[in-house]
């Protein structure tokens, strides 16, 4: 089974490093979450894994292959897909086209259609609005597009950065259910979320980042009972 391990990762923007010697393991078939205050470097870690902010030091081993230095599209092609922070829909394309782009690397159109049907099932609103330009959708609707698009790839590893931002409580719940269901299909998940309680409820293992360093790690239960973590992230 597929396995991602980040070892001694250091990287950042311009002259400053944001992450310092970060190591994490994403166990195959499991949901691993990363918690941390804003600016802790969670998104940077994800960008680094995806090759958008390439590592300056350290390795990112994916099925034994070092992803450090590879181009993003090659990383994606190796079976990783992503729901990026801030939705990032293609504003001048329709919802349907956005979703289709999620399965860009899948050439079999029957498969694409099948997955599209599944996404529409999860988010009926997207089916209603298949022809609307994604840029004109409401904030939460765009989040749905982004999540749906990420699901279209059906990768080995799905990397998710704050998916429930701007979603209504109903959909936040739905969203966590979806992640659990996806995981049940055998897809490994790396999840970044602010909603610590619900995140830990579905995760198997978690890391807490603080100022670019791993501050704590453990199983979901361990973290949930960690006092520091509770104080910082639970209400």
């Amino acid at each position: 089974m597929s396995n991602l391990s980040v070892k001694g990762l250091t990287t950042g923007y311009d002259k400053v490093n944001v992450l310092h010697d970060v190591s994490i393991e994403v166990a195959p078939g499991k949901i691993t979450c990363i918690l941390g205050a804003n600016g802790a470097g969670k998104s940077t870690l994800i960008r680094s894994i995806l090759g958008l902010t390439p590592p300056r030091q350290g390795e990112i081993l994916w099925n034994g292959r070092n992803l450090a230095g590879e181009k993003t599209h090659a990383i994606i092609a190796s079976g990783i897909s992503c729901i990026p922070e801030g939705r990032k829909v293609f504003p001048r394309m329709s919802v349907a086209e956005n979703l289709a782009l999620g399965a860009f690397l899948v050439t079999n159109s029957a498969v694409v259609r099948e997955r599209l049907a599944r996404v529409y099932e999860i988010f009926p609103r997207l089916k209603e609005r298949a022809a609307q330009l994604a840029g004109t959708m409401s904030g939460g609707e765009q989040a749905m597009v982004s999540i749906g698009r990420g699901l279209m790839a059906e990768p080995q590893l799905l990397v998710i950065d704050e998916p429930s931002l701007g979603l209504s409580p109903l959909y936040v719940k739905e969203n966590f259910n979806v992640i659990r269901r996806i995981n049940a299909l055998g897809i490994t998940v790396l999840l970044v979320e602010q909603n610590a309680r619900q995140t830990l409820a579905i995760s198997h293992y978690g890391y807490v980042l603080s100022q670019g360093r791993v501050m704590a790690e453990g199983t979901a239960e361990e973290l949930a009972s960690n006092d520091d973590v509770r104080a910082a992230y639970f209400g």
Binding site: N38, G39, G139, G140, S168, P169, L170, Q194, F234
Partner: protein, 276 residues
């Protein structure tokens, strides 16, 4: 004339007999092509309250803000603010009558500094004359210094570390800081009506709490500030709102205190999810 009386009566009939309504929308409809984002919406906002605006994604909350601030022109219906019809006024005019807002998707001028972004919030009180700006540099300096002090004070409430970085471009700040900056920009002109569109999105629990405390703190200073808050985080709604209105498909489906609306079965199915 009669419009005002009607709204007053409307407000009275809703139970808050002593309060006057600052904004009242009547039969407000906004269509985008075939899509009806606001559908015959009726609501009123009471002077001085903190009102929570809730509703499923795409139910028209942001659109309501956009219509109220003049960015979109409603297809039909009316909004009376302080006795004047809002629809048809330019965003500039509406701003000058004391309405300030933040955006769901942050809209700051990224290459400009924090100070620049915030100070523009008080555009209406700045001196715009070319002569003043270009030739009366001493007087300008005095006005500038006053603004620096004002912005510093405001930033100090929301995030003291930002004060030291006041002259750095906004693009180097994290999303959350940008949100805070946006809130400061909206507050600088001491508006009567403050519209906040999901200000806490992406913040951790602690951060959200701090932000809300700060907003309340400012509100207490400005005696008659009315706040309308769009928010999906129910803890926030519970803590700071006096009253809530719930939208669905562009219509108002519920109204009342936090306790009242969360108990409403309609709201539960449409918005919160059944098992709450």
């Amino acid at each position: 004339m009669s419009a005002i009386m009607e709204t007053e009566m409307h407000a009275a009939s809703m139970g808050s007999s002593t309060a006057t309504s600052l904004v009242s929308a009547r039969d407000l409809t906004m269509r985008f092509g075939g899509l009806t984002a606001l559908d015959q919406l009726n609501l009123h906002i009471v002077e001085g309250e903190v009102l929570g605006l809730l509703g499923p994604n795409g139910s028209g909350k942001t659109t309501f803000f956009n219509v109220l601030t003049g960015l979109y022109k409603a297809s039909s219906g009316s909004i009376i603010y302080q006795g004047r019809e809002v629809i048809g006024q330019t965003p500039q005019e509406i701003y000058r009558s004391g309405v300030a807002r933040t955006f769901q998707r942050s809209r700051l001028s990224l290459p400009l500094t924090v100070f620049d972004n915030i100070v523009i919030g008080d555009y209406q009180h700045m001196q715009h004359g070319l002569f003043f700006n270009l030739f009366r540099r001493k007087a300008f300096r005095a006005e500038y210094d006053a603004y620096v002090a004002k912005v510093e004070a405001l930033l100090h409430i929301f995030s003291p570390p930002l004060v030291a970085r006041m002259f750095e471009p906004v693009e180097t700040f994290s999303m959350i800081d940008r949100r805070r900056i946006e809130v400061c920009r909206a507050l600088l002109s001491e508006p009567r009506l403050l519209l906040l569109d999901e200000p806490s999105a992406g913040m951790t629990h602690d951060e959200t709490e701090a932000l809300m405390d700060d907003i309340l703190q400012v509100r207490n200073k400005l005696s008659n500030l009315t706040v309308v808050l769009i928010e999906h985080e129910m803890n926030v709604i519970k803590r700071i709102t006096d009253r809530c209105i719930v939208f669905n498909y562009g219509k108002k489906i519920a109204e009342g205190t936090y306790a009242e609306i969360t108990a409403d079965p309609n709201v539960q199915t449409a918005y919160l999810g059944e098992d709450e």
